[in-house]
Subunit: 136 residues, 2 copies
Amino acid sequence: MDLSVKKSKNSKQKNLILKILRSTHSHPTAQWIFENARKELPNISLGTVYRNLSNLKKEGKIRELIMGADFSRFDGDLRNHDHIQCTACGKVDDVPFIFFPIPMEQVAQATGYQVFRRRLKFFGTCPECDNQTTKI
Amino acid sequence: MDLSVKKSKNSKQKNLILKILRSTHSHPTAQWIFENARKELPNISLGTVYRNLSNLKKEGKIRELIMGADFSRFDGDLRNHDHIQCTACGKVDDVPFIFFPIPMEQVAQATGYQVFRRRLKFFGTCPECDNQTTKI
DNA sequence: CTAACTGCAAAGTTTTTGCAATTGC
DNA sequence: GCAATTGCAAAAACTTTGCAGTTAG
């Protein structure tokens, strides 16, 4: 059987979307990507953005996050890193890679699962929101 | 300023929803909760389910997960535990609490955030899906 | 060439909201 | 009582899909 998926064309839309994703660490939503993409390609459609995000995900070039109580966010940085979300403004930032030794065997034993991956997410308040506690 | 939020009535709908959530570890979706709730209260509406989930979350009685590429899932168990999701069937299970020492100060230093909480999620295949690898 | 991709618009899903009636405290 | 909650239905928010035309390899 053929396990290699990849079979996809280049298109300016797709390349632009990837470029946008890689130019930020802010984990944008599909809508945000769309708005930024149309600055360069005014005719691009939201459907195309969603289709390309889906393809890029299948090809392993990006990662879908969906981490909080809102819509999907995408990550163009595939290096090992974790995430932190501000509970005040909802922003998601990268946590540069820190090695956390997590004994996955214990998890496998406790659950009966075969464990492949882990994902670690932190919650807190970002510097901006911290300073605005008294405002408004 | 008054930081205590809570001010909420009891209603049979709300109590039922909480009871359902606490009776399972399967992290149901709003739709699933709705379907089960209407077995006991046939006239309950989906809107009421969503409103109560939102209130219960505000009151800190449940937790919204939203962990994968689909719709929200809710957790009625607030004891410390982590989650594992099967990448084959999508099911989410609890990982009974295991102490993972994670140095949150390092995260705070690296990001500038005030860090409150962490959430750890594992991915793998559940025993059922493991055994079905060759079927179909 | 032709399979994949595009823009557009319509449809699908999940969640929220407005309103009049009901209910808990 | 009166504010909070409910059922219902309509609307909003996010995502997917059908189609006919365009494009990359």
